[in-house]
Amino acid sequence: MSAESSDLVRIEHVTKTFHRGSEEIHVLSGLDLTVARGEFLALMGPSGSGKSTLLNLIGGLDRATSGSVIIENDRLDELDDRQLAAWRARHVGFVFQFYNLMPVLTAQKNVELPLLLTHLNRRERREHAEIALNAVGLSHRLNHFPRTLSGGEQQRVGIARAIVTDPTLLLCDEPTGDLDRKSGDEVLSLLQSLQENGKTIIMVTHDPHASARASRTVHLDKGQLSTTGPE
C-alpha cells in the first residue's frame, strides 16, 4: 500500500486569512500536512498559532482562503454548505473542550442527536446511543442530565456523541483542557483505545502530557508547522 493511499487527511498549501476591519490576519500560511488512517495526531502550539483554525478546516467547520483540504477522496473546498453538513454528519465526530452538551437533554438523548440525521428509527437510535455510552463506560448514566455529571463524565458523553455514528475521523479540541488530571487521563485512555480500534484522531492540545498519548505530534507556530514527529 502506498503512503499516499494510506493518508486519510491531506492539507495542501492551505492559507487562512481573517479580516478585522481593514487589517488582514494571516492565521495559516501555505500549510501542508498529512494524517495517516488510524493515526492519533496531536496538534500543539501557543495560543493564536492557528491550531484550532486548522482543526476547523479539517472538520469542514470553516473554509480555507486558499489551498485544499482533502479527506479520503472528498475535497472540502468543492462542497457547498449543504453537502459539507452532510459530509460532517457522515465522516466526522467532534469533541469540544467544554463538552457542549445540550443541558436540557439526558446523556442518552445528547448522544442520539447526530442519529436524528440518519434513517434510524427511535428504537435503533436508542440502541446505538446505549452502545456508545457503554463504550465510554457510562451505561449507568443514560438518563442523567449533564448538570448531574462530573466534568470527566460529561466529556465522555461528548466522546460517545462523537463516535455514535462511527465516523471516519475524530476531531478533539482541547478535550482535557477543562478537566483535572485524573479525568483527563481517563479521557486520553479512552481516545487511545478508540485509536487502537481503528479510529483516526486529531487532537488540539496545550498539554504535553496529553500529546504524549498521541502517536505523532506536530507543532504549529505563526500559522506554519515548526516541528513534526513523536514527542
Binding site: T53, N56, G59, L61, D62, D81, R82, A85, A86, R88, A89, R90, G93, F94, F96, Q97, F98, N100, M102, P103, V104, L105, K109, L113, P114, L116, L117, R122, R161
Partner: protein
Amino acid sequence: MKFLSLIWSSMKRKKLRSVLTLLSIFVAFLLFGILCILKESLTGGVSATDAARLVVRHKVSFIQMLPQGYANRIKTIHGVSLVAHQTWFNGMTKTMDNASDVVVPSFPVDPEIFMKIYPELVLPASQMEAWMSTRTGAVVGKTAADKYKWRIGDHIQLTSPIWQTEAGANSWEFNIVGIYTGAKKNTDLSGFLFRYDYFEEMRGGLDKSMVGWFGVRVDDPQQADAISKRIDDEFANSPWEVKAEPEGAMVQGFIQQFGDIASIIRAVLSMVFFTILLISGNTMSQAVRERFAELGVLKAIGFPNGLVLMLVLGESCTVALLGGLTGLAMAWVFSLGGSPVPNFLPVWYMKPQDIYLGMGFALLLGLVTGAVPAIQAFRLRIAEALRRDA
C-alpha cells in the same frame, strides 16, 4: 416528528420565561376571542336582520307611541304583505338570588302575525296553540328561560315601571306556555313575548290603543327603500308622523350610537398584537442568542442550515400556537357561559370564522417572531458560534 422532542426540550430550558411568554400570548388571544365575541354581539344584530323587514316608528323617537290602527293603513300600501306591532313593556323580575331587579326585554304582540313576520323564532306548534288559547300566556326565549329558570307551566309576575293595570298595579301576571329557540345562531333568545289583547285589556292610562312600533314584511326586499318612502309619505303631516326604514339600517343606526365599534376593536387588537409581537420577538431572539454555541454544535455534527432554521421557527410557532390556541379555547369556553349582560348584548357566541382567524394569527405570530432569530441561526458561522462559548 423526531425533531419535535428537540423543540419541546428547548422550550423547557428556561421554564419561567417560557411560561411567561406562553401566558402573554394566551392573554392576547383570550382578549382577541372575547373582542370577537363582543364585536359579533354588537354588530351581529345587523347580520341577524331580515332584508324583507321594515321597522316603522315615530318620526321623533322610538319612545313616542303610534296608533295601533296605523297597522291597517300600512297594510294597504303597495308592496306590504304583513304588519305586526310591538311595544316596549320594560318588564322586571328578580335576579336568581333575589337581590335586585333586572329588566327582561318584554313585548306585547299579536302572536300569530308576529311569528309570521319573525320566522327565525321557532316555537313548537303545540306551544303556539297553547299561547293562542291562554290569554295570560307568554313565550320566552331559551336564553331567558335558562337564565331565570322558567319552565312551561310556571306562573310568574313581571313588574313594569311604565305600564300599570287599570287597578293601578305595576305587577302583571303571566303563565309561561312556550319556550322558543332560534333558527339561526345569532337569533336573540332573551325576549319575553305576551299577548297584546291581554295587555290592551288590562292597561290603564291615556295610551290605550297606542303601540310602540311596527314590523313590516314586504314582498320584494329590493323595493324596501321605496316602500319605506311610501309609508313615510302616507303619514306625512299627520299628528303621528313616522320613520320607516329597513331593519338592517335601523340596527346599524342604533349601533352607531356607540361609535364605530369595529374600528375601535381593530385598533385595540392591533395594539395588543403589536405589543405581544415585540415581547415574543424579543424573548425568542434572546433565547436563540443564548444558544448560539448549541446551535453551532448542532451544525458541527451535521445539522444543515435549513434544518436549524426550521427548528428555531418550529419553536417559535409551537410557543405561539400553544399560547394562542389555549387562549382561543378559553374564549370559546367563556362564550358558552352566555352573555354576562343578556339584556344589552343578547347575542353571545364565537363565530367559527373568528376561531380560524385566531388560529391563523397565532401561526403568523410564530412565524414573524421566529423569523429574525431563525435567520440569525441560519447564517450563524459554526467556528464563530463555538468561539463564543470558549
